[in-house]
Symmetry: C2
Subunit: 462 residues, 2 copies
């Protein structure tokens, strides 16, 4: 029953988590001459960005994978390390499988027809109008804040339209953006998020929007490069167990180390905060915020083929599925040179539950059935088939990010969202004002937390 | 509360049912100079053969649709009325969707590889060996009759192989032939049926076998022609309520008529006999046989396209699906000149239950998903989509035919299968020795029953 004595480490700032937020914070602090230790639970950096080279040679992104033109911080960081991007493939007919099995092929982003489209557009234009009123830095000062936060997205949709087809479209959009169901999410959070991205279209579309481009070397390449520049200060495989406030700042314990620092930057998503014991315990607002911030439920499934065969018959490989398939959306994730064909299927929200509980052969069958249905029978025979079920990941427990349940912003937002807790500063994509929930937001959150810490360290020194 | 007095009709023989069995019996009797009245519950003739011209112009067979080269009686009857047949389309790659989503494309009937195929072939060769011992006229005299009849097909498969993949193949074969599950069906009945068809391959394959050819004018065209030749003796829309034995023979009552005859030929499937009241009630063996003869559960779903587009990419349109889809088998049911493309999906056995209980949009979605998965995304947009759920048909209550449950043959076969009950003679595909369950068997059963009746009438006269 003997275990090695934990190693004691002294530093200025301890950063918990080596995803984009933590790495950015650490880099900013190091640049400012601050001594930093980064503790990462996993044996790798990148957090919810994770790429892998499969046996076929295809590199796939299991997590975040896109970058859009207005995501300036992510662009700047990628440019700094020379990480090359290329446009998401969207040439050809997109397939829309309607809930009754009716199918619409449509070209590119233009979607001229389809049940409920006109009403869907009316409602999303209204979302944009309401989102324009949101104060991104102090969301609780937004007009009608409490009124909207008391509603679920579903409440709002039902009160706004009787068109069931439009509601079907809105529901898939909520699944696609938040990996949750409209009944689960605060309508104010929807507005905040739309505002944070710069408009509804930014969230939904490909070219010019959030899904504009992909990374040749995987979306975690930038994180890996950033981590390499922090050589020596990152400790992998050290899940933080306890964060204790001390006279001098904080003492952060993992199984192997105790890191003493003046300040901490914690980038753990709110929903995963329960994995860490805080002494003294976190204030009620921060605990309440975490309770009201569940993580979305998503799986990404990649199937690799020897060529993007769907392009030969004029299909883009992009599909949206409203029916009984577990798959909601499909994208062409082939490499830039089309040396292989790759389809990615997203399974999210309620669709994930039954699927994830099935046996592997059933899961595989049902995803390949969807892919064959939108790309052709050749899709049944992938060279590689690989699933990433994010709710099964021990440290990230879901994806893409935490959303906020109805009433959560009102009850806990002002004090619980990202206000520092003594020597503990909060970062992570969920704490961003711009591109909240995205890698770009994670980067800006790390930057903001580093700024807070530098200010606090100066104040104490000064 | 007054209703018109039933019309009294006197004739030599009353035939109940205007499917192939009843029409054949009636025609044979008329040819022999016997006066006949045919009572048919539906407003049409043909029974479980039923074709329809859809809005697209495609003629589809909702019921029985094929004819094979060894089905001589059906061939002779079709030839008599000049009903033209053409080969079932089977050119190109067949698709086999395995339970885990793995797909095998194979050419024609040659299926060289695939999980469990070798063991499946070993078991089916054993079926053929055992079937060769069956006495088709007096099945209860077959060696090991009671032993095999005590087993379900599932019992036999499990005792014969441990190869789960082979068992999956056998289970789909049972669904495909009997529209039932292996646990439900007597293993002796399987052997009897294999023998009745002339071998296992005859049941399963296309060219040269039971699925060899289709009718240009629908598989009910022969029945319609035969009915036209019986002009005047068929009364449609007259479901039989009561069959009463009288001193002179039988008295058969519908809501509109009472037909008095010396003999009756009843072609109603055993599972539907409960719809008729017999006075005195049927003997225990016939009632027991009916109880042990449930009707298979099947739906046929047709989707019509402007062309058989799957042929352009080298696919035959023939597919077998072992996964979670409700669809088990798909065939190319296009017209001979390929002026339209038609796919037919079979949903049977346990697969039918959940599917049939779903809403129409879900049913449609799930069938089109299967078709798109084996033919390509164009399959999502049929010109016509039409379902025939046979268990919902009031008078036929299922399809293709009644099978026999374990122990049924032993307990009731000798006295209950087709032995006449006083003046009532039994016909229908279920009573045939050759091609039992098929249109060819229905025809021969009508012939046999007519022979019985003619003999009985002569005996009484003579």
């Amino acid at each position: 029953m003997t275990s090695p004595e934990p190693q004691a480490v002294d530093t200025d700032v301890v950063v918990v988590g080596a995803g984009y937020a933590g790495l950015t914070a650490a880099a900013r602090l190091v640049d400012a001459g601050v001594d930093v230790v980064v503790l990462e639970a996993a044996e790798r950096v990148g957090g919810r960005a994770l790429s892998e080279v499969l046996p076929s040679g295809a590199r796939v992104d299991h997590g975040g994978q896109w970058i859009g033109p207005t995501q300036r911080r992510f662009h700047d960081l990628a440019a700094r390390f020379g990480c090359r991007t290329f446009p998401t493939w969207e040439v050809g007919k997109h397939v829309e499988v309607w809930h009754d099995g009716a199918c619409v092929d449509y070209l590119g982003a233009g979607r001229p027809t389809g049940p409920g489209v006109a009403e869907y557009r009316r409602v999303t234009a209204l979302l944009d109008d309401l989102a324009a009123t949101v104060d991104l830095e102090r969301p609780w000062t937004t007009p009608r804040f409490a009124e909207f936060d008391a509603l679920s997205a579903q409440d709002f949709f039902r009160a706004t339209t009787r068109d069931q087809d439009a509601i079907r479209r809105l529901a898939l959009a909520v699944q696609g953006v938040w990996c949750a169901e409209p009944r689960e999410i605060s309508f104010f959070h929807v507005l905040f998020y739309v505002a944070s991205a710069g408009g509804y279209e930014q969230l939904m579309e490909t070219g010019g929007c959030a899904q504009d481009s992909r990374f040749a070397g995987g979306a975690d390449a930038v994180a890996r490069a950033l981590a390499a520049s922090l050589d020596g200060s990152i400790r992998l495989g050290e899940p933080v167990r306890t964060i204790r406030r001390t006279a001098g700042g904080v003492e952060v314990a993992t199984g192997r180390s105790v890191v003493r620092a003046r300040r901490a930057v914690v980038t753990v998503p709110p929903a995963a905060l329960g994995r860490i014991t805080f002494e003294p315990e976190l204030p009620p607002a921060r605990r309440g915020w975490a309770r009201c911030s569940p993580m979305g439920r998503v799986a990404k499934v990649h199937a690799v083929y020897d060529a993007p065969f769907w392009r030969e018959t004029g299909y883009s490989g992009i599909a949206t599925l409203y029916g009984t398939s577990p798959v909601g959306v499909v994208f062409d994730n082939s490499p830039e040179d089309a040396s292989l064909g790759v389809l990615v299927a997203f399974v999210y929200g309620d669709r994930l539950d039954g699927w994830a509980d099935s046996s592997q052969p059933v899961r595989r069958h049902d995803v390949l059935a969807a892919l064959a249905g939108v790309a052709g029978p050749q899709a049944w025979e992938p060279l590689d088939y690989v699933e990433k079920v994010w709710p099964r990941e021990h440290w990230t427990i879901g994806g893409y990010e935490c959303f906020v349940t109805p009433g959560g912003w009102t009850a806990y937002g002002e004090d619980g969202w990202r206000a520092p807790t003594g020597p503990v500063h909060w970062a992570g994509a969920e704490t961003a004002s711009v591109w909240n929930g995205y890698i770009d937001g994670a980067i800006s959150s790390g930057d903001r937390a580093a700024t807070e810490v530098i200010g606090a360290l100066k104040a104490r020194t000064g």
